[in-house]
């Protein structure tokens, strides 16, 4: 018995040593449960998928030694205070090497302070708010394009429609991401010479939009831009239908690219515009996955749902760490941080490179749900396919 315990202890000690020597652990606190679990899972699944694939391909070579990647993931229950505590725990108790981000700007905003304080780089693909990158932090990197420009391509496209929308209503939730979007969009609307008929901020988790919808309906704008959460967008569209609100065009910052959104709304999802920084184009070549369509196929097979840009962004975060560690030739957090600021590589998600503030620059492709399919419409000055415009009245669909 004693010997058995002794053996076990030796084994454990050995495995502990092996663990410390050959593994780089990435730590993340993600919304696996709670109100944001729906989107949080894209990050959990994306991180796991990328790490498994990189390990499968032999791991990461750092300074002549090969390392396997490991993931330490904690569930923050969609509570941003808990997520801050968990990032501190990941660094102080679990001693993870580097940090991957949570979903959503509110979380990334708070959690990036932990990365900055402990001087351990965090690459996050879940927070786009300009606020995250405007504080002069050096240890936070983001793979979502900047929030204030989310509607940039949409407003550029509107100028090319016939007849072009002349008036716009802007509705947005009161969190870090959506407030950033609204601030940027207001400016874009002004520059485009459009008339802003409504500019309304609502509480996050609003479920009843009937007052807002009635108000917008009475000012009758050509276009409605909504920046909010997916639950709100679902409620908004359903209630717009039940109150007969039919603008010529409406567009949403979230929801439209996800399969879940189309499934929940059925035919009512049609005609909705949105945007995505990522479409699985075969021109997105990747060292580990081949290219984006191959990634989508493998991911869908593994998880049973199609990845959208959240998952692809999560994969890019892991790959960026792999590339940066290789380039740095060491696991020293400061040196890896400097290497991250210089990465420049092609991935399933697009070209990964960060500006001086730490944020990626990717164009947003305007998309529209047409007959239940997400259809790319417009990007970088080019009309990719014909938009269904103006949107027919609800009664005439």
């Amino acid at each position: 018995m004693k010997r058995a315990i002794g053996c076990l202890a030796t084994l454990l000690a050995m495995s502990g040593v092996a663990h410390a020597q050959n593994t780089v652990t990435l730590g993340a606190s993600v919304q696996e449960t709670g109100a944001l679990a729906n989107t949080g899972r894209y990050y959990r699944d994306g991180y796991n998928f990328a790490i498994a694939k990189i390990n499968e391909s032999g791991g990461v070579k750092v300074g002549g030694k090969t390392y396997k990647l490991a993931l330490k993931i904690l569930d923050n229950q969609s509570d941003s205070n808990l997520s801050v505590r968990q990032y501190v725990q990941l660094l102080t108790q679990d001693k993870v090497n580097f940090l991957l981000g949570p979903f959503a700007s509110d979380f990334a905003l708070a959690d990036s302070s932990v990365a900055e304080k402990y001087q351990v780089p965090m690459i996050q693909g879940g927070g786009a708010s300009d606020q995250i990158f405007s504080r002069g932090y050096k240890y936070i990197f983001g793979t979502l394009p900047v929030a204030s420009k989310y509607f940039g391509s949409t407003i550029a496209m509107m100028g090319k429609l016939n007849p072009a929308p002349k008036s716009v209503a802007l509705l947005y939730a009161d969190d870090a991401f959506d407030v950033s979007v609204a601030a940027g969009t207001r400016e874009l609307i002004r520059k485009a010479g459009l008339k802003l008929t409504e500019d309304k901020r609502y509480s996050s988790n609003t479920s009843d939009f009937s007052t807002l919808i009635s108000e917008v309906k009475s000012s009758n704008p050509d276009a409605i831009l909504v920046s909010g959460h997916e639950t709100e967008v679902l409620n908004f569209i359903r209630q717009a239908k039940s109150l007969n609100l039919s603008p010529k065009i409406y567009s949403f910052t979230v929801g439209v690219p996800t399969a879940d959104f189309r499934k929940a709304l059925g035919a009512d999802a049609n005609y909705a515009f949105g945007m995505t920084p990522w479409l699985p184009s075969p021109t997105n070549k990747d060292q580990y996955f081949g290219d984006a369509p191959a990634f989508v196929k493998a991911y869908t097979q593994k998880f049973g749902y199609e990845p959208d840009y959240h998952a692809a962004s999560a994969v890019a975060d892991v790959e960026a760490f792999a590339k940066a560690m290789q380039a740095a030739g060491t696991l020293d957090p400061k040196k890896v941080r400097d290497a991250i600021s210089h990465v420049n590589f092609g991935s399933i998600y697009g070209t990964i490179a960060f500006d001086s503030a730490g944020q990626i620059s990717l164009p947003q492709t305007v998309i529209q749900v047409q007959n239940g399919q997400v259809t790319p419409i417009y990007a970088q000055g080019i009309m990719i396919s014909k938009p269904q415009y103006p949107m027919p009245l609800w009664g005439k669909r």
Binding site: A37, S207, T211, S218
Partner: protein, 287 residues
């Protein structure tokens, strides 16, 4: 003017939905003196019953309404009989704790079994509406409003006209005296809790037709129901309808005139005012 009329109509219809949500909470609170923090979770479960009946068997949500109610009645009955009756005489703090725990368990079980995907009950007429004097009225909300009124009146009749209903009220008013008259409180408590859960189930089924369903909608609905129950008072189911409609109108007007971010400030501000000025609710006796 047209807009104001529309907003008022929106408010009244929203209030009907609110009343339906709060009715069960008020019943359980009034009779059992339990503030059921799992009430929103019951509404969520009722919504899933409706969702699965609709998506798997194409059963119309209004046909599924009694099924949702029945399923939640059974669940509520069993929970009271085998869990809450154990602490029937305990201080309120214990019942708060246990129903809070129940809420957490039900919510996480829901995520395990139903996933965190957003669902909707989306029959062809879900977005239908009709126009009356220039006001657009969503069909489902009007129907939900009528269901709320019918269920409230039915509950009121049950409590005031039927022997079992009167026994329920008797145990609420004076347990000792009720016992002397041969009322068996344990079964009555389970029955009451089951009825409250059934009303939550019905509310959930209709909620899924106008809104979206996910395992985490419960907490906000519990808070809203709580506010309505206090504003309306616990003595009379009709008070809950008044409270619900009152809150619906106030919220709609606040969103219009003050701003949509102030809706919760208004509703919980009114809650505080009612507690100070009319602690027995709008329809209850004055303080």
């Amino acid at each position: 003017m047209q807009l104001l009329a529309q907003i008022l109509a929106n408010g009244v219809l929203l209030g009907g939905l609110y009343a339906l949500m709060a009715l069960g909470l008020a019943l359980i609170w009034g009779v059992l003196n339990i503030v059921n923090l799992a009430h929103g979770a019951f509404i969520m479960l009722g919504a899933y019953v409706g969702y699965y009946l609709f998506s798997l068997f194409h059963i119309d949500p209004f046909v599924a309404l009694p099924v949702s109610m029945g399923a939640l009645f059974c669940l509520g009955y069993l929970i009271q009989r085998h869990l809450l009756n154990l602490i029937a005489r305990a201080p309120m703090f214990n019942t708060l704790l246990i129903t809070f725990g129940l809420d957490v368990v039900l919510t996480y079980l829901a995520q395990m079994f139903f996933s965190a995907d957003f669902r909707t009950i989306n029959p062809g007429y879900a977005g239908a509406n009709f126009t009356l004097f220039g006001i657009t009225l969503p069909l489902v909300r009007v129907l939900a409003f009528l269901v709320a009124i019918v269920l409230t009146v039915a509950l009121w009749l049950f409590l005031s006209r039927f022997r079992v209903g009167r026994a329920i009220r008797a145990t609420a008013q004076n347990l000792g005296a009720a016992r002397l008259y041969g009322v068996e409180p344990r079964r009555l408590y389970a029955l009451t809790f089951g009825l409250g859960a059934a009303l939550a189930g019905g509310a959930g089924d209709l909620y899924g037709v106008v809104s979206q369903i996910n395992p985490y909608i419960g907490a906000a609905l519990t808070a809203k129901s709580f506010a309505i129950a206090i504003i309306g008072g616990l003595e009379n189911p009709l008070g809950v309808v008044v409270g619900g409609i009152f809150l619906g109108i106030v919220e709609s007007l606040t969103a219009l005139y003050v701003g949509p971010t102030y809706v919760d400030v208004a509703s919980f501000g009114i809650l505080v005012l009612v507690l100070i000025l009319r602690p027995n609710g709008l329809l209850g006796a004055a303080a």
